[in-house]
């Protein structure tokens, strides 16, 4: 076992522990902070796998965007130190059993499947390469999904504004 695998096991243990605490902690704010640590661990895993661009995107969008949004919504809807009621014991037992069964099934399938892993040339995850193929219009290019994603983002932006508008004051079309 070499040093890079030891680093991998450390990162994996960190991710799984933080994720487990994020779904079991009773206080909602602590749960968000554990989720934040788990997402940072996943960014570290991307660095370990040598895909720096994805790691940067993960850090910026998840850690800097989604977690901050979650914290905002928690402060708008909860008192910071509120503890959520614990789920009933029976529900926890059945959920745990279902999850363990799923883990066992999928691990069995993955373990007995042999993946053809070609040796030699590694992944060329240069930002220049990624950018060229992302907006290329030739075969294998991703220009159309890229534009569709921008339309989706615009639609969600407008949708958020419409949804979060207070009724009666800004909604011109309301009948009341």
């Amino acid at each position: 076992m070499d040093i890079s695998m030891i680093i991998f096991y450390c990162i994996a243990a960190f991710i799984l522990t933080a994720a487990l605490l994020a779904v079991t902690t009773a206080k909602i704010f602590r749960s968000t902070i554990w989720l934040l640590f788990s997402l940072i661990g996943i960014a570290a895993l991307y660095y370990w796998m040598d895909v720096q661009f994805i790691a940067a995107v993960q850090t910026v969008v998840y850690v800097g965007g989604i977690v901050v949004l979650l914290i905002f919504s928690i402060f708008l809807t909860h008192k910071a130190n509120d503890a959520m009621p614990r789920p009933p014991v029976m529900r926890r037992i059945w959920a745990g059993l279902a999850s363990l069964f799923g883990i066992a099934l999928v691990l069995h399938l993955v373990y007995h499947h042999s993946f053809a892993t070609p040796a030699g040339a590694g992944l060329n995850g240069d930002v220049a390469n990624i950018g060229t193929q992302l907006i290329s219009t030739e075969k294998g290019g991703y220009a159309l999904p890229f534009e569709l994603a921008s339309i989706l983002l615009l639609a969600s932006l407008i949708g958020c504004i419409v949804l979060a508008m207070r009724k009666g004051t800004a909604n011109v079309n309301s009948v009341e």
């Binding site: 788990s38 965007g65 809807t77 993955v110 994603a149």
Partner: protein, 104 residues
Amino acid sequence: MSQTPLIQILFLSVGLFFIGMYGLFTRRNVITILMSIELILNSVNINFIAFNKYVYPHQLEGLFFTIFIITIAAAEAAVTIAIIINLFRSHHSVDIEDANELKW
């Protein structure tokens, strides 16, 4: 040991996926359910990157799928939080058991 660590990464992502499923089963608060969904999406992203890196190293398809999944997750989180704030305004609670008007 020169073997690629693909199988260990897959084990990690399976664990992460089912931790997210456990949260989805047990939690009854909309914000924590959203957090479980983020964990599940992240486990899928890890799978895409691992398969791209170790099984198809001469292509970049998995990276693009990951980038688009992250984009869609961000849009989804923004819309969900708008819905949560609206729900809190009308029901004074973000518990899914309290929002049962559409339940048959």
